[in-house]
Amino acid sequence: MEFFIREDSTEPILKMQLVQDGRNDFRNFHEKLANSSIYFSMKDTTTGIPKVINQSGGIVSKTPTSPNSNIEYYIYYKWKKRDVKKSGRFEGQFIIYFHDDNTELIAPIRENLYINISESFVKSPC
């Protein structure tokens, strides 16, 4: 998975969602996610040096498709200026603590998440 963002830009936010392949109980996942803590880490793929270590992420509810539908969430990380100061290719991972059953999940599992921070030639006027 490839995520692209410009150097010094805090948008777009990094947003992940559950794989709904018909194999898991996705409602249970969202129920557990509602009472969880989420942290994000990111390391440079070339040097292996961590760039972001256990910074707090969050959950945010998706816009409901119908009034009576169950709530589903995205997992997100909102970039800070210092995270995107340097261009390069990074690998990111989330760790999710489920407080209901005291378990933790490190994801993504099947496919790595790569964050590509590309150079920018514009600077903020502020």
């Binding site: 392949d21 898991n24 009472n35 707090s56 945010v60 509810s61 998706k62 816009t63 995205y74 997100y76």
Partner: protein, 673 residues
């Protein structure tokens, strides 16, 4: 065919297939903005400026909501005290109604002077002098002076400090309802020392409705409470090993009941802590129940220990039973003087209608006073041992084997009644409640009700709503319904009628009790429909502390506030109430006239069926209050956590789950900015 085993089976002997069903995985989502953007980007609380979803937001630190009075215990407990604190909401519901919609030629203020009959029961207004009623005045445009006036109401919810009165209309100093001003890093706030705030958001039959009685999807209540948690450093002579030092004790130092008695959660061992009731305005005394009994608190009247009524921080529903409606109380004592009393006469309706006076006493249509409380009151509380939950008086119906045949199967009868329904969490956030040293700690509390089904328009009233219980009198049916044979109307509201009294405005649809009433006949069609429609009232009730879920009640049946089963004139301001920091007085401080219809007010002595509210909700939260929000939508967990993050610095809040995972307990957990 011989027996198969691994040695003689000629196909693949071992095959492995990765089973994806046992774990969850995530993938990168699109950049689409199909999510709640306030949660990610907003720097204020959810829907801060939207009255459509947040119609009530009271912040005591804001002068828009509170005049920020300064006071002390001496002033609050003085018998000469007449002033009550008044607070108002910053926001209002855009659909709120606080004036006549019909053509009305009166002044811009609509007066409801029948408020005199009930308005003094919680100290909102004094009892009237002869021929000088105290009125509620409603308006769309209050003047500056009227903003915090206790008897002028407009679109913003107004709450006032309750004041128990006694014979002669003077303050009852045997009940401490003090509220003290205070200040800390969060700004101005108030300490409740037995007092609390209460107000109504709808006046049945009058053009005043500033909140929906049954929101489409549900509602949410959020508040910030300052608790004094018991810590491991408190000592008491009464404690014996292994409980000396109170390790493992949960509780509020001057706890929710004001009495220093705690029950150890794990061991069920009662522990007395003798020293902390000094924070009360009226010093506790000694009586047959022991020493340090806070006998002036509402919770201890009548005094029973330990209290099961303390800690109500939010209450919704009817604030008292109908004191006029039934025989059996001391209204009977004064019956010769009161039997001919009526409500006030004169032009008093919208559309310039002259409303005929109605009789004051014995007009309630319910079998007894308790019926007005059934499924019409719910209180949320923090118990003495720091568990959070709710209490309601649920109207119940079920089949019993009796040998008769009715609506149930052969040999069974459908019987109705009520039950006290409550549910509580485990002790909340041990990091706060166990590690304190009677230091004040702010917590954010959220209560969210989400109905399983979203309802629209008429469904709100008809699907499990209060219309289920309403019976329109047969002789008045033409006014409200359509005849099967297509008979000639008019039907319903007709504002332009020459005789508007015949066709009332829609805000009086249908008029209680002249045209309709709640029919509580247990075997009647109305009650049967009420119970059959139960599924439309079901939902999930969830409690959060500091943004984290601590308790969830599935299939909770919502409480839909409704009016009393009597004339509108004798119930002004009694139904559709909301309390912050306490429950309700019930009829414990009600007054009735003794010699004339509005003369010589004496204390009301309730009948045995007029004490349900006092007995079950007559308690208060002891501690600090700062903000309250009432949303007319169910907040989602991410929205609640967002509000937690917004107010985290102001109140020095901690995330109880985060701290759970920190080594040695963490004070400053790294939270999302």
């Amino acid at each position: 065919m011989g027996t198969q085993n691994l040695n003689n089976y000629y196909h693949n002997r071992l095959d492995v297939k990765l089973n994806y069903s046992s774990y969850y995985d995530i993938f990168l989502a699109s950049d689409e903005k199909d999510f709640n953007q306030q949660v990610v980007y907003s720097t204020s609380i959810i829907d801060a400026t939207s009255g459509d979803s947040l119609p009530v937001w009271v912040d005591l630190a804001s002068t828009d909501c509170c005049q920020q009075p300064t006071t002390n215990c001496t002033a609050q407990t003085a018998s000469s005290l007449t002033h009550e604190f008044v607070i108002i909401s910053k926001n209002y519901w855009p659909k709120a109604k606080s004036h006549c919609e019909c053509p009305y030629t009166g002044s811009s203020t609509f007066s409801i002077c029948d408020a005199s009959w009930t308005g003094s029961d919680n100290g909102n207004i004094p009892p009237p002098f002869p021929n000088l009623p105290y009125c509620y005045n409603i308006t769309n445009t209050p003047s500056t002076l009227q903003t915090f006036s206790p008897n002028v109401f407009f679109k913003k919810l107004k709450l006032h400090q309750i004041r128990p009165l006694t014979t002669g209309g003077i303050l009852d100093t045997s009940i401490d309802t003090s509220i003290i001003n205070s200040f800390d890093g969060s700004g101005y706030y108030q300490e409740l020392r037995g007092g609390f705030y209460q107000g109504f958001y709808k006046l049945y039959g009058y053009p005043y409705e500033i909140l929906p009685t049954r929101p489409n999807r549900g509602w949410s209540f959020e508040t910030y409470l300052k608790i004094n948690s018991v810590g491991s450093t408190l000592y008491s002579l009464d404690d014996s090993p292994p409980y000396n030092g109170q390790q493992g004790v949960y509780g509020n130092c001057y706890n929710t009941g004001g009495y220093n008695k705690f029950i150890n959660w794990s061991g069920g061992v009662v522990i007395n802590i003798m020293s902390s009731a000094t924070t009360l305005c009226m010093e506790p005394g000694s009586n047959s129940l022991g020493i340090n009994v806070p006998q002036n608190l509402l919770n201890y009247n009548p005094p029973t220990l330990p209290t099961t009524k303390g800690g109500f921080f939010f209450y919704k529903g009817v604030r008292a039973e109908d004191k006029w409606g039934f025989s059996g109380s001391n209204v009977d004592t004064y019956y010769p003087n009161l039997s001919a009393c009526t409500s006030l006469s004169g032009v008093s309706g919208c559309c310039n209608t002259e409303e005929l006076p109605v009789k004051l006493i014995r007009q309630n249509q319910s079998p007894n006073a308790q019926y007005d409380v059934y499924s019409n009151a719910v209180g949320f509380r923090l118990t003495d041992d720091m568990r959070i939950g709710y209490r309601t008086l649920r109207y119940t119906g079920h089949c019993e084997t009796t040998g008769h045949t009715d609506f149930c199967n052969t040999g069974k009868t459908f019987v109705c009644g009520y039950m006290v329904e409550e549910s509580y969490s485990d002790p909340i956030c041990p990091f706060i409640t166990q590690s304190g040293n009677c230091n004040d700690t702010w917590i954010q509390v959220d209560v969210v009700f989400k109905r399983n089904l979203e309802l629209e328009d008429c469904e709100i009233f008809n699907n499990g709503g209060i219309n289920d219980l309403i019976k329109v009198r047969t002789d008045k049916f033409q006014r409200y319904g359509t005849h099967k044979d297509g008979g000639i109307g008019p039907f319903g509201c007709n504002r332009a009628s020459i005789t508007p009294e015949v066709n009332p405005c829609n805000d009086q649809y249908p008029r209680f009790i002249e045209d309709a009433y709640f029919d509580f006949n247990c075997r009647g069609a109305q009650v049967q429909k009420w119970f059959t429609d139960n599924e439309y009232r079901l939902g999930t009730l969830t409690f959060y502390v500091n943004g984290r879920r601590v308790h969830q009640v599935e299939n909770y049946e919502e409480i839909i506030p409704r009016q009393l089963n009597t004339n509108k004139q004798t119930q002004v301001g009694v139904a559709y109430n909301m309390s912050w920091g306490g429950g309700a007085l019930g009829l414990s401080s009600a007054l009735i006239p003794s010699t004339g219809c509005n003369e010589d007010w004496v204390k009301f002595t309730p009948n045995s069926d007029q004490t349900l509210i006092k007995d079950n909700f007559g308690g208060t939260f002891m501690g600090g209050i700062s903000q309250m929000m009432y949303y007319i939508k169910p907040l989602t967990p991410d929205e609640i956590y967002h509000n937690f993050l917004i107010n985290k610095s102001r109140y020095a809040l901690i995330d109880c789950e985060e701290c759970k995972n920190c080594d040695g307990g963490c004070v400053d957990c790294d939270l999302l900015n």
